[in-house]
C-alpha cells in the first residue's frame, strides 16, 4: 500500500465531495457533516454516474444520475439496489488527507 497526500479536510465542503484523478480512474473523496473522510471510486456500478457529484447525507451518497444510494463506509448499495463500489483507505493526520493505493495496480499503468 502506498499513501498519497491529496490535500486538507478544509478543501472539501462539509456534506460534500471532491474528486482526485489517478491513473486508475477518478476517486471521490467525501467529507461528512461530522468531518469524517471517505474515499470510493468515482464511478457508480449502475451506469457510471460520478458519485462525487451526488448529495452526501449521513455516511452515504446518492448518485446524481439515478439516485442509487451507497454507504461510504462499505461501498455497498443501500435499499433494494444491488451493487458495490470499491472503497479506498483514507488516513487523516493533522487535517491532512492521504489515500492508500495498491502498488501493483499503480504499476500496471
Amino acid at each position: 500500500m502506498n499513501w498519497f497526500e491529496i490535500g486538507t479536510v478544509e478543501d472539501i465542503p462539509a456534506r460534500g465531495a471532491r474528486c482526485v484523478s489517478t491513473p486508475q480512474g477518478k476517486i471521490g473523496v467525501f467529507r461528512t457533516a461530522d468531518n469524517r473522510i471517505f474515499a470510493i471510486d468515482d464511478h457508480c456500478p449502475h451506469k457510471g454516474g460520478p458519485l462525487s457529484q451526488g448529495i452526501v447525507h449521513g455516511a452515504s451518497v446518492t448518485c446524481p444520475l439515478h439516485n442509487w444510494v451507497f454507504s461510504l463506509e462499505t461501498g455497498e448499495a443501500q435499499g433494494a439496489d444491488e451493487g458495490s463500489v470499491r472503497t479506498i483507505p483514507v488516513r487523516v493526520v493533522d487535517g491532512r488527507i492521504s489515500i492508500g493505493l495498491e502498488p501493483a495496480l499503480m504499476a500496471a499503468e
Binding site: 465542503p13 474528486c19 461530522d34 447525507h57 439516485n67 502498488p103 504499476a107
Partner: protein, 816 residues
C-alpha cells in the same frame, strides 16, 4: 390442432373474456380480433375522466399492443367486419381481410341513438361513445364557446361536466321533468339538478328538440316551444341500441339484442355473443358489471366447461362526476304493495330513500351520502328480512346491531360475500384473502391482483378500508405521506412549522421537527433548502450541499458525466452577435453537440466540468446569463412574433414575454416553471399547455394556468382576462408567488392547483386585489436576493472547488 377463435369487436366485454380464457384454456385457440375502432382495448368507462382532463388515454388502456403480441393474438385495428358467412365459417372486414373460424364471438357493443330530427348530420353534432368522440369534443372545447348536451342521463351529465371543466358554456336539454329519471326518483333528480347547476351548467328539463339549426355547421338547437339556444357543439346522449345488425344479416336470432342462452350461445352453436349487443334472459345491459359476468360465462363455454351460467343481478348506478355522490339500485317506483323510508338533510344536501316490499329491500336511492349503498344492495341481493331494524334502517349499517358509527367497523361487519367492486363483481372475502395470501400492501397491488377498484374507481374508499382492516396500522391511506424516511411529517406540515416556529436553517428544522436521521437524505434536504430560500429570502444562507448537482454547478449533468450549457435567449429572440458568440465558444471548447431546445434557445452539450467557468466567461462577455435550464425555478418564457410581425397578432406578445422573463428570472420555485405568451388564440407559442400562459386578444390578455405537457398532458384553465400588460404581469407574478409559498417541493403548478382548487387561486390572485398586491410585493422582495447571475459569480471565483479535481495523482510506476 388448435381451433380458430375469431372475435368481432374489441370492447370491454370480450377483453375481459379473453383474460379468463387465457387463464383457463391458454393454448386452446388461435385468436384473431377485428375492431372497427383503430386501437387496442381501453376502459370505455373512463372516457369521462379523459374528457374532463383527470386522466389521459394512455392511462385508460386495458391491453396495450404488447399484450396482444405476448398472447399471440392477431388484432385487426380499424377493421369493421361487414359479413359473416356461416356456411363457409368465415368473416370478412371492410378492407377485405378474411378469417376462418371454428368459434366466433360477436361483441359489437352498442350504437348511440341519434334522434331523427333535421340537422342531426351537421358538422358539430357528436355522439358520446368512443375516444374519437372525446377527441372531437376536446377540439371543439378549445373554442370555449357554447355547447348543448341533449340527454340528462348518466352519459349526458358526464359529458356536460367534462365540457364545462374544459371551459365551455354548457346547457343540458332533457326531455323528462327530472334528470336521470330511469335511475333516480324525482326528489333525487331535483337535488342532482341543483348540484349540476351549481357547477355553472344550465339545465332545461321538458325540452323537446325540434331541430338542429345550422347552414354549414351547427349553430344551435330549436325546441318544440320555439325557443332557440345557440351552440357550436351539440352532443347527443339520449340512449344506446344494441349493435345487432351484423348478426341479423347473418340470420341469427335477434330480438332487442342478439339472443343468447345462459351460456352466451346464439342460435348458431358455434357463435357466441356477449356485451351490450347480447340479449340474455330477455334483457340487454348497459353497465359493465353484468357484461363482465357474461365474459366469465363465455370464456367457460369456449373452454368447454359447462358449469357457468349467466344470472341476472341488479347493478347499481353511480355518476362519475367529481363531487357529486349518487347511488341507485333496484326498483323505486311507487306502488300500493310498497313502503318507503326516507331521510332528508337539507343543510347537507343529503337524501336517502329505501323501498321495501314485504319487509325486503327492493330499491335504494342515495344522494349526497352514498357510503351505505353497498350495504343496502347487499340486503336486497340476499333478500334479508329487515323488520327487526326497520326503525333505524335508513341510518345505515353503522346504526345496526349496536355497532359504532365508525365506518371501519361498518366495513368490518360486511359479510364475506358482500360485493365491494360492482364493476368487477369482487366481494370482500376475495379481496381480504388475496391481500393476505399474496402479501399485498398497496392499493395498486390490490387492483392488479383482484381487479377491485380498477374500473370506475368509486369503491376505492371501501377497498382502502378493507386494506386497513386486513393490514392494521401498517396501512393508513388517510395518513399524510411523510416527505421521506427521515420524518413522519408531510410537506405541508413542514412548511407550516418552518413559518410558525421561525426555523431558518436546515439543522434547526431537523432539530425542532425531530428528524430521525442525522442530516437528512437526498429527498428531504433539497425540499427543506427550497422552503427556507422561499420563506426567508433575505436571511437564509442557501445550502449548496443540499442542492442537486445541476443546481449546485448551474449546468445539466449528462449521462457520461459531462454537462450541458443553455444560456438565456430572452423570449426566444436572438441576434447575429449572440449567435456568433455561441459559435466561437463551440469552436474554442470543441463542444461536440449544439441543439435548438424545445424551449426556444440553444443547448451546448458535452462540456467538461473543468471547462464550465471558461465557457461561461466567454458567453458572459457576449451578454449571456444562465438560462437556468437545470433549475427548479423559472425556465423559459416562450413567445410568438406577435403584433410586431404577424398579420394576426393582437398585442406585442414577444415584448410581454421578454418583460416577464426579465422580471422573473432567477426565482426559485417548487418545481420548474415554464411560461409562454401567444399573440392571438392561434397560440403559436403553445401557451395553453404551460404552467402559466398568456393568450393576447383584442380586448387584453387572457391569463391561463395549470397546463402540463410533460409526463401528463393537460390544457390550461383560464384564470381571467386583464386589460393591460401591467396587470398581466402583476397577476402572473402574484400567482407564481402564491405557488412558491404553498406548493410542495417538486409539485408542478397543475398538481398544486388541483389540490387547492382553481377557484381559490382565482379568488386570491385575481379577485382580491389587495392580496394580489401583497403576493406581488413579496415576490419582488425575494428577487432582490435571487437575481444574481450564477455564471458570472462562478467566473469570478465562487465555488472554485466544484470545478477542479482536488488533486491529480500521475504517479510513476511503483517506487520499488
Amino acid at each position: 390442432m388448435t381451433e380458430r377463435l375469431v372475435i368481432i369487436g374489441n370492447g370491454m366485454a370480450p377483453g375481459r373474456m379473453l383474460e379468463h380464457l387465457l387463464e383457463i384454456a391458454p393454448n386452446r385457440y388461435q385468436i384473431s380480433i377485428f375492431n372497427a375502432e383503430p386501437r387496442v382495448n381501453y376502459d370505455r368507462i373512463m372516457l369521462s375522466p379523459v374528457l374532463s382532463g383527470e386522466k389521459s388515454y394512455e392511462e385508460i388502456v386495458i391491453h396495450g399492443d404488447g399484450w396482444y403480441v405476448a398472447n399471440g393474438i392477431t388484432l385487426y385495428k380499424g377493421h369493421k367486419v361487414v359479413e359473416i358467412d356461416r356456411e363457409a365459417k368465415t368473416v370478412t372486414s371492410e378492407h377485405g381481410a378474411v378469417e376462418p373460424y371454428d368459434k366466433l364471438v360477436i361483441a359489437t357493443g352498442s350504437v348511440p341513438f341519434i334522434i331523427p330530427v333535421p340537422g342531426k348530420d351537421l358538422p358539430g353534432v357528436l355522439s358520446y361513445r368512443d375516444l374519437d368522440d372525446v377527441n372531437a369534443m376536446l377540439i371543439a372545447a378549445q373554442s370555449r364557446q357554447k355547447a348543448i348536451v341533449i340527454g340528462g342521463g348518466l352519459l349526458g351529465l358526464e359529458a356536460a361536466a367534462g365540457l364545462k371543466e374544459r371551459g365551455m358554456d354548457v346547457t343540458v336539454l332533457h326531455v323528462m321533468p327530472t334528470l336521470m329519471e330511469r335511475q333516480l326518483d324525482p326528489a333525487a333528480g331535483y337535488l342532482l339538478q341543483k348540484a349540476i347547476e351549481a357547477r355553472g351548467i344550465k339545465v332545461v328539463t321538458r325540452a323537446n328538440t325540434k331541430r338542429i339549426v345550422g347552414e354549414t355547421r351547427v349553430e344551435g338547437v330549436e325546441l318544440d316551444d320555439g325557443t332557440f339556444i345557440p351552440a357550436t357543439l351539440v352532443v347527443m346522449a339520449v340512449g344506446i341500441r344494441p349493435n345487432a345488425g351484423l348478426a341479423q344479416q347473418a340470420g341469427l336470432a335477434v330480438n332487442r339484442g342478439i339472443v343468447t342462452d345462459d351460456q352466451m350461445r346464439t342460435s348458431d352453436p358455434d357463435i357466441l355473443s356477449l356485451g351490450e349487443c347480447a340479449e340474455v334472459g330477455g334483457r340487454v345491459y348497459g353497465l359493465v358489471a353484468p357484461l363482465y359476468q357474461m365474459a366469465k360465462v363465455a370464456a367457460a363455454t369456449l373452454a368447454g366447461s359447462d358449469g357457468e351460467q349467466f344470472v341476472h343481478v341488479e347493478t347499481p348506478t353511480k355518476l362519475k362526476v367529481t363531487g357529486i355522490d349518487l347511488y341507485s339500485v333496484g326498483d323505486f317506483a311507487d306502488g300500493d304493495d310498497r313502503e318507503e323510508i326516507v331521510l332528508r338533510d337539507a343543510s347537507a344536501g343529503v337524501y336517502k330513500r329505501v323501498i321495501l316490499k314485504e319487509d325486503r329491500v327492493i330499491g335504494t336511492v342515495l344522494f349526497g351520502e352514498t357510503a351505505d349503498g353497498p350495504w343496502f344492495a347487499d340486503l336486497q341481493k340476499k333478500q334479508t328480512d329487515i323488520s327487526e331494524m326497520r326503525d333505524t334502517l335508513i341510518f345505515g349499517q353503522s346504526f345496526q346491531g349496536g355497532a359504532s358509527a365508525d365506518p371501519l367497523a361498518a366495513v368490518a361487519a360486511l359479510a364475506d360475500d358482500a360485493e365491494i367492486c360492482g364493476c368487477n363483481g369482487v366481494c370482500k372475502g376475495k379481496i381480504v384473502s388475496t391481500i393476505t395470501s399474496k402479501g399485498l400492501t398497496s392499493l395498486d397491488d390490490v387492483r392488479a391482483h383482484t381487479k377491485a377498484s380498477a374500473s370506475c374507481g368509486t369503491c376505492t374508499g371501501l377497498v382502502e378500508k378493507l386494506m386497513t382492516l386486513t393490514l392494521g396500522d401498517s396501512y393508513n391511506p388517510a395518513a399524510v405521506q411523510p416527505i421521506c424516511g427521515c420524518t413522519d411529517l408531510g410537506h405541508d406540515d413542514v412548511r407550516r412549522l418552518i413559518k410558525a416556529k421561525r426555523l431558518k436553517t436546515i439543522p434547526a428544522v431537523m432539530q425542532e421537527l425531530e428528524w430521525k436521521t442525522s442530516c437528512g437524505c437526498a429527498k428531504c434536504r433539497p425540499a427543506l433548502n427550497y422552503y427556507l430560500v422561499c420563506d426567508w429570502p433575505d436571511e437564509y444562507a442557501d445550502d449548496y450541499q443540499s442542492r442537486f448537482i445541476n443546481e449546485r454547478v448551474h449546468a445539466n449533468i449528462q449521462k457520461d458525466g459531462t454537462y450541458s450549457v443553455v444560456p438565456r435567449m430572452w423570449g426566444g429572440m436572438t441576434s447575429s452577435q449572440e449567435l456568433r458568440a455561441i459559435a466561437d465558444v463551440v469552436d474554442k471548447f470543441q463542444i461536440p453537440a449544439v441543439k435548438v431546445t424545445g424551449g426556444q434557445r440553444i443547448d451546448m452539450l458535452g462540456i467538461r466540468k473543468e471547462d464550465l467557468p471558461a465557457v461561461w466567461a466567454d458567453l458572459g462577455k457576449a451578454g449571456f446569463v444562465s438560462g437556468q435550464a437545470y433549475a427548479k425555478g423559472l425556465r423559459t418564457v416562450k413567445t410568438c412574433v406577435g403584433s410586431d410581425w404577424c398579420r394576426f397578432g393582437t398585442q406585442d406578445s414577444t415584448g410581454l414575454g421578454i418583460r416577464i422573463e426579465k422580471f422573473m428570472w432567477g426565482s426559485w420555485t417548487p418545481a420548474k416553471l415554464k411560461l409562454a405568451v401567444s399573440g392571438c388564440p392561434r397560440n403559436c407559442a403553445e401557451a395553453t399547455c404551460k404552467d402559466i400562459g398568456v393568450i393576447c386578444v383584442d380586448s387584453g390578455f387572457e391569463i391561463h394556468f395549470a397546463g402540463a405537457a410533460g409526463l401528463d398532458i393537460k390544457g390550461t384553465d383560464v384564470l381571467g382576462l386583464v386589460k393591460t400588460e401591467d396587470e398581466a404581469l402583476e397577476v402572473i407574478v402574484a400567482l407564481t408567488q402564491m405557488y412558491r409559498e404553498q406548493a410542495r417541493y417538486l409539485e408542478r403548478i397543475y398538481k398544486w392547483a388541483k389540490r387547492i382548487g382553481h377557484d381559490e387561486i382565482r379568488r386570491q390572485v385575481l379577485d382580491d386585489v389587495e392580496r394580489r398586491k401583497a403576493y406581488f410585493d413579496r415576490f419582488v422582495f425575494s428577487q432582490k436576493f435571487a437575481q444574481v447571475d450564477p455564471w458570472s459569480e462562478r467566473v469570478s471565483g465562487k465555488d472554485k472547488h466544484e470545478f477542479r479535481p482536488m488533486a491529480n495523482l500521475s504517479f510513476q510506476p511503483a517506487a520499488e
